[in-house]
């Protein structure tokens, strides 16, 4: 290409553009959200073949490829499987704004399940968090059928 006189490099900015979606939860996650909202209860789905209980509940057991019809109510208590304390800033795609940090992202093995479940943990000092520690949910007063009907999980004794 011939020499370009201006070496200025321009860009195009998307501005406030966003794409709205109306994602169906499906019957399984709908039940999960309704139980949270109405009964402050977490539920999973149980595989009729391998008996594993998965949370969030879903229609098919990935290992067995069979439909999971049975919904199992959980105590909500569990053990911390892994965690990270997030310190860096980033845009939350659901708001277009920076997600507040620091926060602790916790993967919890809920009692009676065969997988882990992701939520916030109240504690953000890694020195005070121990994998294997017992945790339970802190429910919000006003619940709307949303993951954040649980404000966060917090450590408990035993």
């Amino acid at each position: 290409m011939e020499e370009i006189k201006k070496k200025e490099l321009l860009s195009v900015y998307s501005g406030e553009a966003e794409q709205p979606f109306e994602w169906s939860a499906g019957k399984y996650v709908s039940r999960f959200l309704v139980e949270m909202r109405d009964n402050k209860t977490l539920v999973g789905s149980k595989c009729p073949k391998c008996s594993k209980v998965m949370v969030p509940p879903r229609r098919v057991c990935g290992d067995c490829f069979v439909q999971m019809d049975e919904i199992v109510k959980l105590s909500g208590k569990g053990s911390l499987y892994s965690f990270t304390v997030v310190n860096f800033g980033f845009v939350d795609p659901d708001t277009g704004l920076q997600r507040p940090v620091p926060y602790t992202c916790a993967y919890i093995t809920l009692d009676g399940t065969n997988c882990t479940y992701a939520h916030y943990l109240s504690e953000t000092d890694p020195a005070k968090i121990r994998i294997g520690m017992r945790v339970q949910p802190l429910w919000e007063e006003n619940r709307r059928g949303h993951l954040l009907d649980i404000k966060h999980f917090e450590p408990i004794e035993g």
């Binding site: 290409m1 019957k27 996650v29 709908s30 959200l33």
Partner: protein
Amino acid sequence: MTDWIEQTEDMVYKGRIKVPYTWWVGETGSHFFATLRDEKKLMGTFCAKCDMVFMPPRKNCGRCFNQQMSWKEVADEGTLLTYTVPAYEADIHPMKPPFAFGIIKLDGADTGLTHIVAGFGTGQLKTGLRVKAVFKEDREGHILDIRHFQPV
């Protein structure tokens, strides 16, 4: 056992994807936009192998992969190749109706530039119509520095 499926209300989550994008225009496109902004001129690129002037400009020829394109100014006036008048309003539209989308073969270019056509009378739009660019006063180096094209 599956009665609960029938009984469960259908929850719908209204969310969004809102992530900001900054698209780098590149040296070739920056020259096009800077010239549009500063001089109200439209610069295409010429492939000597294909004997074609591309509008908008290309750094390389997409047809023969010639990497040695040269700049060629094209007119701000040209011929309407096709058009449509949207009969609905949408958030993505840059202006209120009536307006048209059109593909315009600018004089001196071999490809058409897609843009907005406005300022036309009822029944005036037709393929082959001569149209001319209307530039914005406050130009910022953007494709909408051409506000729209309108009949000559």
